[in-house]
Amino acid sequence: MDMQTEGVEFLEDNFEEESENEDDDNRHSKLLSAIANIGKEKSKSKKNIIPVKTATEHVVSSNAKAVTVGNLLKTLTDKALHANIKKAVSKDTKHFKTLPAPLERPQSEKIIRVAAYDKAKNEVGKWDPVVYQNRLGTAVQEFPLYQPDSRLIDGNAFAKKFKPKTPLEEQITALLHGSKNVMKNGEELTEAEKLALSSMSLKEALERRRELGRIRALQAHQEAKARRQNKIKSKKYHRLLKREKLKKQLKEFEELQKTNPGAALEKLQEMELQRIEERANLRHKNSGKWAKTQAIRSKYNTEAKQALSEQLEIGRRLKEKVKESDFSSEEEEEAPILFAAGSKFRESKNPWLVQAKPTIALEIEEGEDTPNYRKFWAKVNAEREKAKATEDTEKVSLSDDEAPMKDEIERDESSSSEKEEEFVEAQAEAKFGDADVIRPLRGDGKYVRIRSNEELDEQAGQKESLIKESRIPKTLSKSLEQPHDQKTGPVEIDPSKFIVIESKKIKSSVNITLEDGEDEEEIGMGDQRMTIAEAFADDDVIAEFSEEKKDALSSSKSKNIDLFLPGWGNWGGKGIKINQRKRKRYMIKAPPAPPRKDHNTGNLIINEEKNDSVRSHQVNKHFFFFFLVVSVYVSCLSFKLYRIMSMSNSRYLINS
């Protein structure tokens, strides 16, 4: 607006200057330019000529000349009165300015709207932090708004909350509150204890109190220990625990049969029950899913192999008959059958397990009055004692109530050659895993093994070789350590191809075998070794690997392209010799393959090819945009989803 008014004034000035004649040239040129601009100025002045200061929205005529106060004053004459008026007016006009005209309605409304909008904008802008927090934060409010109570509740407060509801709970609380033996919080002694203490002398009371405290501390310690142990999740630990328990049971049984035969019998029955259960279920067999996978893995993984064999061993041990024979039929006329269990497993058919086999020789003897289990264990113990005796020449003292054992030892010490022969025979038979048939023949009730001649002939040779080492009590310890090299016959296995496996000695008092004895057949040792060699004949792992590597190397090379067409430009057909030089010309040689990383690593194949099957599972790289760096995303993924995390709020999570 100001610009417009200035323009008007400038025009007026122009005309004033024209009327005065001062500088000719300048004026002339100005005049010319003014004349030239007349048309334009007119149109411009038409727009601008209205002094906007005076314009209102009601102004209709655009040509109306502005009337100023000065113009009006010009009409006044030079009278004193008029002079005063002039003065006053000119004084006032200096101080007062004309108000600007009100804007047109649309414009003014627009200004109001803009102002209001800015105000509203600022107002809603206050919510910015809340909104951005909601948008970015993981926690999105759920309905109904749920705020978990994060205060910790201590045990006492929790216990106070408890109120008995069921009749059982009510009974228990009644009992607890009624009893004098319940310790109350913040007190050292129960009521009953206090009562007891009050009826004692001071010294006694103090002692008693100390005693009680000690017992309580011990109890607490035991409880804590049990709680700690209960929490252990390691399978290995539990396996060991179980094994320990089993051993303990056996030991206990041994103890018991010395001291308390009745209890030992019970224990034995318990063990027998366990054995039956083990036989009935499939827990430690090689037919389960786990065992099958382990069997597959065991080809490459020694650990799996070991785990499997351990499991089988457990099964076997559990299945073993502790009660060796049923002598209940002794009174009857029938010849009792002595099932020398364990002994047959002692000699496994697996040549690799031979060395780790402990052998326990059993002398078969009779005991008329003693119970069966005692008889059996008496034998075992006697064996051990004997071994000790021969080594240390130490006299074994036995308690009086174990007379038969004593007798037995005495008899052993006398060791007639006949008896020894018998023993050895029995031992040898036992090694070959027969169910030995032993009948009481002599009057004194000694068992003598009866066998057919053919059988004896067949096994004669083997027996002889075994006789040398089968004075068992002497060699017991040795046989556990020494490998029986002389036994292993010629096996068809390439000595250069082998995988070193750390041999593990299984320390166990119980016999170990790898196969069930029931379906055993009499196969010669040599035959067995042969079959094993045959079984593993195909498993040439090293050769297989080298073959695989060769394939990998050759497949990574690009192949030459042969464009040679036989008969093209030459005579073709049968019996025509192809010119090799020509053939070579049509061969396009492939560029040499880039060097492989594994070209000089002997037992390693590095595959660097793209795998399309994996590709469809790979995360799109655009996704990493949010994470900026791939490693950040990867580390995010590697976080485990713990329960506590999953309980935190997520978009669709449910609140309790």
């Binding site: 627009k110 809603v124 759920e142 599972h617």
Partner: protein
């Protein structure tokens, strides 16, 4: 024996010729027609509950605003209007203030009323034929928005004398909904198959364009808390969008459901209501796979960890594929295919034009700036 029979004159029920008008005998005895009560025939368009929820207002095509009580009338009584206000102009929509005893009506003009007064306390006019819908902001309760017949959305503040601002879109908006979690965000359902989320402080371009529909979007409503909204479309489907995503989270459809006329997200965030052309109201679960009813602690933990796992591995292609896959009706599937072809062809044409003209003459226009014609101050 005397047998009672109805005696009827055959002339009353037989035609002489086949062109005769069949006469129906009918008794007009009012005692025989208890349901035929004389009623107000004017239809009600829009409804708004008062703050305390004990009453509600309706507007009809007779320029009247009626207040009703929420309580069911005693037996035998007929629901009666508590009070009636008469407006000078036509009314099309009503919305009640969330805190005060005020409400706003839209029609020829936007009027603000106080519950205790018979005359509007304020009226806004900004050169528009008619305003179709009004919605009060949930958080800044004095701000309200209206969509108008000139393809525009207008913002008002009931404390001001004039409207705040107007944004004109390329096509008509069919519905409008404020985000209850964000004071300045609202979403409009547009005739051009898309939904647009606006930040009311920056109206020259939408904040987000939500695609995935294959026909005009008729209605939109926000979830009370989860920052999602549901939209009903003329393509007979209901689609749920996450407010910050351009594409839908889920699509609901059934064989018998026709064109959707309105959708509503329930206030407990569990359900979605939809009304459709075949005159049925349907209730849907807001999250289709969610278990309804009591969820025990263990189950809750299991579900939550499953959800968390899904979230964690969401970027994995196979998981993404499973999460995204939806079976849609054949017509929707085909329409989507067609739309995709159209979009691709337009893009191709633009690229060709750009390739064969002077550099800079064919500018790249971002998708968000394509849909707003102008912002009026």
């Amino acid at each position: 024996m005397k047998i009672k029979t109805l005696l009827r004159n055959p002339d009353e029920y037989t035609h002489e010729t086949k062109h005769d008008i069949h006469k129906i005998n009918r008794s007009y005895d009012p005692s025989l027609h208890p349901f035929e009560v004389a009623r107000d025939q004017s239809s009600e368009f829009s409804i708004a509950f008062t703050v305390e929820g004990s009453a509600f207002y309706t507007i009809g095509d007779d320029k009247t605003i009626r207040r009703w009580k929420c309580e069911t009338p005693l037996e035998g009584n007929i629901e009666e209007v508590v009070s009636t206000n008469i407006s000078k102009s036509i009314l099309l929509s009503i919305s009640h203030h969330w805190r005060d005893a005020k409400y706003a009506t839209a029609g020829e003009v936007c009027q603000i009323w106080e519950e205790s007064r018979a005359q509007p306390i304020r009226s806004f006019l900004w050169g528009v034929d008619s305003l179709h819908q009004l919605r009060f902001n949930y958080i800044e309760t004095n701000i309200l928005s209206a969509r108008a017949s000139d393809r525009s959305v207008i913002l008002y503040d009931i404390r001001e004398k004039k409207p705040l601002r107007k944004v004109v879109m390329k096509l008509q908006c069919n519905a409008l909904s404020w985000n209850p979690m964000e004071a300045f965000t609202f979403t409009v359902a547009n005739e051009d198959y898309h939904l647009y989320s606006f930040d009311m402080r920056n109206l020259n371009a939408p904040m987000n364009v939500h695609k995935d529909r294959t026909s005009a979007v008729i209605d939109v409503d926000y979830s009370p808390t989860v920052n999602e909204f549901v939209s009903g479309s003329y393509d007979k489907t209901i689609t749920i969008f996450e407010a910050d995503k351009g594409h839908s989270r889920d699509i609901y459809h059934t064989k018998r459901m026709q064109r959707i006329t309105c959708v509503l997200w329930s206030n407990d965030d569990k359900y979605i209501m939809s009304g459709s052309d075949e005159m049925n109201i349907r209730m849907w679960k807001a999250r289709a796979s969610e278990k309804l009813g009591i969820v025990k602690e263990r189950e809750r933990v299991a579900l939550n960890s499953a959800a968390k796992l899904k979230e964690k591995f969401a970027a994995h292609p196979q998981i993404k594929r499973i999460a995204r896959h939806r079976q849609v009706p054949r017509h929707v599937f085909n329409a989507k295919k067609e739309l995709k072809a159209m979009v691709q062809s337009r893009a191709r044409k633009e690229a060709n034009r750009r390739a064969h003209s002077k550099p800079g003459t064919v500018p790249y226009v971002p998708e968000r700036q394509k849909h707003v014609v102008r912002e009026d101050e």
